[in-house]
């Protein structure tokens, strides 16, 4: 049964720039022909750990950060759990990850920059090339730039600071707001959650700590940018966002890495807490190079009438495993998960969304769009649980997969468990090949085959793109066009 799913509710609708269409069109010109973030900088780091992870590595990281005892204790427990925990037996094949080859802690500079000028030249050039300072000036309320293991720069608009908004890196968060961090850290995703959450909790460094006070509406987005530079680098940022009662925040993350033949590992943990009536919108546009394992645990709790939206776009990487989750704890709370994945030659995008309805009158939508090209493989894993007593809850899950070539593959693994009868559910899944008739129709109007395919693919993921701020919609369309050129990887 087809269900019409409203991808974004009214309160989450992006402010529509009247020039959006025009700017999107203009941006279609002058496209790079290859993975444009694939360069690397020379390694002139302040500190780089040896390869591999051990109890000593964990202690050393904590010591260098001058952490309180409870955090060191947590790290060690997590490390022990990481060792004892088996690799997941489901999902993508992770057997080739060599944990002993990775560098677990790389500190690029002695200190964090207060202005971009304080950031070491190579690193600053890198973020310049990625357009981060420009984006900061143009449309962001705050920026955090993480390079390898540490945030090298962060800023927050003064007016927001005055309102009590906190936006800093996680290490500074732990130093400056120890009570709050201790109270919430690891409460949404305990270290025993999974092997990679355990690893992250053991060796975490960087990431963002965000607190939005009661009733404060951060109208324009905060952005964090994550860059891996070194070969075999592991990046383990840790992000915690707390939106207090009635507040609103939109947090965006982007990520890139150089093209190396050696693998890198990005394994983040992101915890969101939306208090009563609060809204958190978390947008990811990931563009890792094809040598990055991207295994991330993202989860949110939503209290009474709160809303959490995960907007998660996955391009690039070797293997991505990521299933943003929401626990709907309070009556009337809402979850919206919109994901898009593009698996090109040699890539596996194993993604999806999870929602637990734990209160009455809760609403969730999970919408997934995936495109596979070459021998790329996409999998959708949807998890929906509605507990007994969650009456008048509504949920809709939808995943659409598009296959561009004969060798590519797409799988759907939806799991739906409903213990309450008085609920409304919708589920729909489609798989389609790019249609000969659609292609012919567009080509008969003069569009080249590549243009026609790009248009069809962009049209297919449009339900995702339209949830992005314009600048990111432009970026996503560019990235997809790049994937079409087959010059990546």
């Amino acid at each position: 049964m087809a269900t019409d799913i409203e991808v974004t509710s009214k309160e989450l609708a992006i402010h529509v720039d009247p020039n959006r269409e025009r700017l999107l069109r203009e941006a279609e010109k002058e496209l790079p022909l290859e993975y444009s973030a694939g360069w690397s900088d020379p390694e002139t780091y302040f500190f780089k750990s040896g390869r591999g992870v051990s109890r000593e590595t964990v202690e050393m990281i904590s010591r260098m950060k001058n952490e309180p005892a409870w955090m060191l204790d947590r790290r060690i427990k997590s490390y022990d759990h990481f060792l004892s925990r088996k690799m997941p037996s489901w999902g993508a094949d992770l057997s080739e990850i060599n944990f002993d080859e990775m560098y677990y802690y790389i500190k690029p500079a002695r200190e964090q920059g207060k202005t971009w000028d304080d950031v070491p030249q190579d690193i600053k050039n890198t973020f310049d090339k990625l357009g981060i300072p420009e984006a900061e000036r143009k449309f962001l309320a705050g920026v955090s730039a993480q390079y390898e293991s540490e945030v090298v720069y962060h800023s927050l608009r003064e007016d927001l600071e005055k309102l009590g908004v906190i936006f800093t890196d996680m290490d500074s968060g732990l130093r400056e707001y120890p009570e709050m961090v201790k109270r919430y850290f690891g409460t949404v995703i305990p270290y025993k959650d999974n092997k990679f959450a355990a690893l992250n909790t053991a060796v975490w460094s960087g990431g963002s700590f965000v607190y939005v006070p009661k009733g404060v509406h951060v109208a324009i987005p905060l952005q964090a940018y994550f860059r891996i530079n070194a070969k075999n680098a592991g990046q383990f940022e840790r992000t915690l966002i707390i939106a207090d009662e009635g507040s609103y925040v939109h947090y965006i993350e982007g990520c890139t890495a150089p093209i190396w033949s050696e693998d890198s590992l990005h394994s983040a943990v992101v915890e969101l807490i939306a208090m009563k009536d609060a809204t958190i919108r978390y947008t990811t546009v990931q563009n890792w190079s094809n040598n990055v394992y991207n295994i991330v645990t993202k989860r949110a709790v939503a209290h009474e009438n709160a809303t959490v939206a995960w907007i998660d776009g996955n391009l690039g990487s070797k293997i991505t495993m990521k299933y943003p989750a929401v626990y709907l704890l309070g009556r009337g709370s809402k979850a919206e998960i919109v994901t898009a994945a593009f698996a090109n030659q040699g890539q596996v995008q194993d993604a999806g969304g999870q929602v637990w309805h734990c209160a009455p009158e809760t609403t969730s939508t999970i919408t997934s769009k995936s495109v596979s090209k070459g021998n790329g493989r996409t999998s959708f894993r949807g998890w929906l649980k509605i507990y007994k007593g969650c009456v008048d809850s509504v949920s809709a899950m939808r995943c659409d997969a598009m296959l561009l070539d004969k060798e590519c593959r797409s799988d759907t693994y939806p799991t739906i468990e409903v213990d309450e009868e008085k609920v409304a559910l919708g589920h729909e899944a489609t798989v389609s090949k790019i249609g000969e008739e659609e292609l012919f129709y567009l080509m008969s109007r003069g569009l080249s085959e590549r243009e026609a395919i790009t248009q069809i693919v962009n049209g297919f993921i449009e339900p995702f793109t339209k949830t992005l701020p314009m600048e990111y919609a432009i970026e996503l369309n560019r990235l997809i066009q790049m994937q079409m050129d087959g010059a990546v990887g």
């Binding site: 567009l442 008969s444 109007r445 003069g446 569009l447 080249s448 026609a452 049209g459 449009e462």
Partner: protein
């Protein structure tokens, strides 16, 4: 090989050299089965040619083959567009060189806004310069076709009624200014009002710069769009050509007299109702049009 019986051959077909569209002995297969058995047709700018024929005669096959659909294989023959080898071109090249196909069942594509699509098509045909005047031209054509601006924000043909789809086809044709326009059963699935708007749109375009091939299987279309030449296509061949009077004769007496005439002349005609009905997707019967039959050929 019989094209048209010699007695009915119009004068303009004596030489196809220098013509805008010159089709010589065209054979077309679908899935290894020959549907078109040798067609000769010459169309010049300024002319309107009607192709009449019963269901399954190969009319739509001819249209698709000329536009370059990958499933329609040309096995022999030649087609020149402005002296260039049309068959060597991909569908998009054919379009950019001035050929246009007005689809019987336009495909709908979600996520692509009509306005953006038109802009891309204009850019493909005329280059960046066309973008400057696009807005103005669009407004004018929308007015002629009695279409609302809001069409431009809708997804390409998605959820369009039969009439809306046909208007959208005519709009594209008007903007892309083809030199040869093939109209495949454009009259099907239209109510009288939509039909008039579409016919007015076509008539507004008529002139020395464009040649039309109007494919239809009944005469209503030709009452509004007066053809200069009429060809009857049966069994994958053009069996008779003439002027407007031929369309009238077919309207009054059907195809039976023509078939009998051919039989007397000893010409064999392969009637392929089944194949035609399957591949060319003609309407089931003349008056039973379903304006909401919205799909294209997907899924064949």
């Amino acid at each position: 090989m019989v094209a048209a019986p010699a007695t009915n051959a119009p004068i303009h077909q004596s030489s196809s050299d220098g013509a805008t569209l010159a089709i010589r002995d065209l054979h077309v297969n679908i899935d290894s089965r020959e549907i078109i058995h040798g067609i000769d047709l010459t169309v010049n700018k300024g002319e309107v040619h009607a192709i009449l024929g019963p269901n399954g005669s190969g009319k739509s096959t001819l249209a698709y083959a000329l536009m370059g659909h990958p499933r329609y294989a040309v096995t022999s023959g030649e087609v020149e567009l402005k002296g260039e080898d049309l068959l060597a071109m991909s569908a998009d090249e054919r379009s950019r060189n001035g050929l246009f196909l007005c689809f019987q069942y336009p495909t709908s594509i979600p996520g692509i806004q009509m306005g953006n699509f038109l802009r891309l098509a204009m850019k493909a045909r005329f280059g960046d310069a066309a973008i400057k005047t696009f807005r103005k031209e669009l407004t004018e054509k929308l007015r002629i076709l009695k279409m609302d601006e809001s069409y431009m924000r809708r997804y390409l043909n998605e959820g369009f009624s039969g009439g809306e789809k046909k208007k959208a086809e005519i709009l594209q044709m008007a903007l892309l200014k083809p030199e040869i326009a093939i109209m495949d059963e454009t009259d099907s699935g239209l109510d009288v009002d939509a039909f008039k708007v579409v016919a007015d749109g076509v008539n507004a375009m008529r002139g020395p710069d464009v040649g039309f091939v109007v494919i239809t299987h009944y005469n209503r279309m030709l009452e509004y769009i007066k053809p200069d030449f009429v060809h009857v296509l049966i069994g994958g061949k053009i069996v008779k050509s003439g002027g407007p009077e031929l369309a009238l004769a077919v309207d009054q007496h059907g195809y039976q007299p023509i078939l009998e005439e051919l039989r007397e002349q000893g010409v064999e005609i392969e009637l392929m109702e089944e194949a035609g009905a399957t591949y060319a997707r003609e309407e089931p019967t003349e008056r039973e049009h379903d304006p909401f039959r919205s799909h294209g050929l997907t899924g064949l």
